[in-house]
C-alpha cells in the first residue's frame, strides 16, 4: 500500500484498534443502569512522518473523539496509540509532558478552549512558559506576535480577550497557540472553518510551508473537502465510528469507491451559480449510535445497498491499488 505514497514512510503515529465508549446515562442512583454509547469501533491508521493526513467524515462520526483520545483528553476504552513507537496510553509524569510538546491539538471550539480571563496573546505563548520557563518572556511575546501576524492578525488583537474577537480570529488564535511550540505533529480539528476563503488560503499555505520547512506532521480534520484535497497526502473517511475508506489524494478524489465518500464529494457546493449541480443528498434517517444498524452501518442510506449489506459488516480491505475501503460491493464474490 505504500507504493503510492511518495514521502518518507517512517511511521509516526500508529493507531490500532481504537475503541471508545461514553457513559451517557450516569448512574445517579445505585439501582439505575448505566448506558454506554460506542463512538469508535476499532479504528486503525498509521500516520507517517512528515505527511499531511486528512480525516473527514460525517458530523458526529467520531473525528474529534479520535483526536481527543490521541491527545489523552479522553482515555481510550481499548486499543493502542503509538507515537514513534512509544505507547501513549497510560503515559505518566515527565514522559507525558515531553510528548505534550511534540503533539499539539487545535480545538474545534475555539471559544471554549480559550480562557475568558486572559488576554489572548498571553494564552498563545503560554505553552512556551510551560515548557521553557518564564525567562524568555520578551522573546515569547515576539514569537507570538509573529505567529499572529502570519495568520493574518495584528498585535493589537493579542491584547484583547476571547469574547472581543470574531469567530475567525479566535480560531486563528487557537491555531497560533498550537503552533508556537513547533510540535512534530499537529492535530487540527477544523482549524479553518470560520475563516473566509482568503484567510483560509493564507492559513493553509502557512501549514504547508511549515510542513515543508520543519517537516511537521499534520492530522487535518475538516469538512472542507477541497481543502483536504489540496493539503492532505492521504485521507481517511469515517462513518459512524468506522473507517470506510482510506486512500491517497488523487485516488480518493478522482475515484472514490465507497458510496459514502462518493456522496460526500458530490455534495460539495461549487461557488459558481451558473453551474447547476445534481443534488445527491443522502436519503434516509441517520441511524443512532446507540442502536447502530446491523451489517454495514451505511446501508440504510446507501444508494447501492444490497440485501447482504444489512447482514454482514464489511471489513476494511486493502484493495490492489493500495487503497482501503470497507464495502461489500467491492468485495469479490458479492453480487450486486
Amino acid at each position: 500500500m505504500d507504493t503510492v505514497i511518495d514521502i518518507k514512510t517512517e511511521e509516526m503515529l500508529k493507531v490500532e484498534n481504537l475503541t471508545k465508549k461514553f457513559l451517557i446515562k450516569k448512574q445517579k442512583m445505585p439501582w439505575q443502569k448505566k448506558k454506554y454509547v460506542h463512538v469508535l469501533n476499532g479504528i486503525n491508521f498509521t500516520i507517517n512522518e512528515g505527511e499531511a493526513f486528512g480525516l473527514v467524515g460525517e458530523s458526529g462520526c467520531g473525528k474529534s473523539t479520535t483526536a481527543k483520545v490521541i491527545m489523552d483528553i479522553y482515555s481510550p476504552t481499548t486499543g493502542s496509540i503509538k507515537y514513534n513507537s512509544t505507547e501513549l496510553t497510560g503515559l505518566k509524569g515527565k514522559e507525558k509532558k515531553a510528548i505534550r510538546k511534540d503533539i499539539q491539538y487545535v480545538f474545534q471550539d475555539p471559544m471554549g478552549a480559550l480562557n475568558p480571563r486572559i488576554a489572548v496573546i498571553e494564552q498563545i505563548y503560554e505553552p512556551l512558559i510551560i515548557h521553557y520557563g518564564r525567562k524568555g518572556h520578551k522573546e515569547y511575546y515576539k514569537k507570538a506576535v509573529d505567529l499572529l501576524e502570519s495568520v493574518g492578525m495584528k498585535e493589537a488583537h493579542g491584547k484583547m480577550y476571547p469574547h472581543q474577537l470574531s469567530g475567525g480570529q479566535r480560531q486563528r488564535v487557537v491555531l497560533a497557540r498550537a503552533m508556537i511550540l513547533e510540535p512534530e505533529m499537529l492535530i487540527c480539528d477544523e482549524p479553518i472553518s470560520a475563516l473566509d476563503v482568503s484567510i483560509q488560503a493564507q492559513v493553509v499555505n502557512l501549514l504547508m510551508k511549515i510542513r515543508e520547512e520543519k517537516g511537521i506532521t499534520l492530522l487535518f480534520i475538516s469538512h472542507d473537502l477541497s481543502m483536504v484535497r489540496h493539503l492532505c497526502d492521504r485521507t481517511v473517511v469515517m462513518y459512524m465510528g468506522n473507517i470506510v475508506e482510506f486512500a491517497d489524494r488523487e485516488t480518493l478524489f478522482n475515484n472514490p469507491l465507497h458510496p459514502y465518500t462518493k456522496s460526500l464529494i458530490n455534495a460539495i457546493p461549487i461557488p459558481d451559480p451558473r453551474i447547476k449541480r445534481e443534488e445527491t443528498i443522502l436519503e434516509g434517517e441517520i441511524p443512532s449510535l446507540l442502536h447502530p444498524p446491523s451489517g454495514c452501518r451505511f446501508h440504510p442510506r446507501c444508494p447501492i445497498a444490497m440485501p447482504e449489506c444489512s447482514i454482514r459488516e464489511p471489513e476494511l480491505k486493502i484493495l490492489p491499488d493500495g487503497r482501503q475501503a470497507a464495502c461489500l460491493a467491492l468485495e469479490e464474490g458479492v453480487k450486486s
Binding site: 491527545m71 489523552d72 483528553i73 507525558k96 509532558k97 515531553a98 510528548i99 505534550r100 510538546k101 499539539q104 491539538y105 480545538f107 471550539d109 471559544m111 471554549g112 478552549a113 480559550l114 480562557n115 475568558p116 480571563r117 486572559i118 488576554a119 503560554e126 505553552p127 510551560i130 515548557h131 480577550y161 476571547p162 469574547h163 472581543q164 487557537v174 511550540l181
Partner: protein
C-alpha cells in the same frame, strides 16, 4: 464623533453604571488606607494611654452628646478609658489578626480544595473528611484544645484565626474547580502539558476567584467577632488589651446605657467590611474581561 448610545439591555448593562462607581470606591479605598494608617500609627496618634483606667471619668458620652467632654472625642468606657485611643489600638490589633487570619485561611482552604478537586478519590475523601470534621466541630472546642495544650500567644492566636473557616474556602474551591476543570480552557492547557499547579493557579483560580474573594470579605467581620468568643475563653486578645471584637463584646451590656462603647467599634467594623466589599467588587469588575 460617535455617541455612546449603547445597545445593551437590562441584563447586559450599560456604560454609565461603571463610571458612577468611582466616588464610592474612592471613599472605600480612603477608609481602608486610613484604617491601615491608624493601625500603624496607633501608639503615636492615640491621645491617651489606652489602658489607663480613670474611675472618676466613667461613661462620658461622645463630644456631640449632652454631657460630652471635649477631651474625650468618642467618650469613655465603663472604666473611664478613652474610647478613641482604645479604638485606635483595636484597629491595629484587629486588622492585623483579621488580615493575617483571613489570608492564612484563604490560602490553606483554597489549596486543600484544589487538591481535593484535582486528585479526587481517596485524597478528596480525606480532605472532605477534614472539612466535615472542621465544620461540625464547634470552633469553641478547637479553641479549648489549643488552650489545653499551648500557652496563649499572639502567633498562636493568629494561627487559630487562620484555621477559622478554612473549610469554607476548601468547599468553594473544590466545588467550583470541579466544574472549572471540565471546561475547555482547562482541558486545553492540560494538552500543552501544563502542570496541575499552573492549571489551578493561572487558569482556574482567576475564574473562580470572585467567589473566594467574596468569601474573604465576608469572613472579615466574622473573624473580628470571633476574637471576642476566644477572648472570653482566655485565648488571644485579653483585657486590658483591646480589639474591635472585644470592645463590642465587653461593651454589649452597656448598649442601652452607654451605646458608644459597643456601637462605635461596631460601626468601624461595618464600614471597614463595607469598604472591603466595595473595593473587592471594584477589583472584581476591573478583572472581569466581560466588562472590558
Amino acid at each position: 464623533m460617535y455617541n455612546n448610545k449603547t445597545n445593551g439591555n437590562r441584563i447586559m448593562v450599560t456604560q454609565k453604571r461603571i463610571q458612577g462607581n468611582t466616588l464610592l470606591v474612592l471613599f472605600a479605598a480612603i477608609w481602608i488606607v486610613a484604617m491601615l494608617i491608624i493601625g500603624t500609627l496607633a501608639p503615636v496618634i492615640a491621645p491617651y494611654d489606652y489602658q489607663q483606667i480613670n474611675l472618676n471619668s466613667r461613661l462620658i458620652p461622645p463630644v456631640w452628646m449632652e454631657g460630652g467632654d471635649s477631651s474625650y472625642f468618642f467618650g469613655t468606657d465603663d472604666l473611664g478609658r478613652d474610647i478613641l485611643s482604645r479604638l485606635f489600638y483595636s484597629i491595629r490589633l484587629s486588622l492585623l489578626v483579621a488580615i493575617l487570619g483571613t489570608v492564612i485561611c484563604a490560602v490553606l482552604g483554597t489549596t486543600l480544595g484544589f487538591i481535593a478537586s484535582h486528585f479526587r478519590g481517596v485524597v478528596d475523601d480525606f480532605i472532605m473528611m477534614l472539612v466535615d470534621f472542621q465544620a461540625s466541630l464547634p470552633f469553641m472546642i478547637l479553641a479549648l484544645a489549643v488552650i489545653a495544650f499551648f500557652e496563649n500567644s499572639m502567633i498562636l492566636f493568629i494561627g487559630i484565626m487562620g484555621i477559622y473557616g478554612w473549610e469554607r474556602y476548601a468547599r468553594f474551591a473544590r466545588g467550583l474547580a470541579l466544574s472549572a476543570e471540565e471546561q475547555g480552557y482547562a482541558v486545553a492547557v492540560r494538552t500543552f502539558g501544563a502542570s496541575p499547579v499552573r492549571i489551578y493557579l493561572r487558569h482556574i483560580l482567576p475564574n473562580v476567584g470572585n467567589t473566594l474573594l467574596v468569601n474573604m470579605t465576608m469572613n472579615f467581620p466574622k473573624v473580628i467577632m470571633m476574637e471576642t468568643s476566644l477572648s472570653f475563653l482566655g485565648l488571644g486578645i485579653q483585657p486590658p488589651n483591646t480589639s474591635l471584637g472585644n470592645m463590642v463584646g465587653f461593651g454589649r451590656d452597656y448598649i442601652l446605657a452607654a451605646w458608644w462603647m459597643a456601637i462605635i467599634p461596631a460601626i468601624t467594623i461595618f464600614v471597614t467590611t463595607l469598604s472591603m466589599s466595595i473595593v473587592g467588587d471594584w477589583v472584581r469588575d476591573k478583572l472581569d474581561p466581560a466588562l472590558k
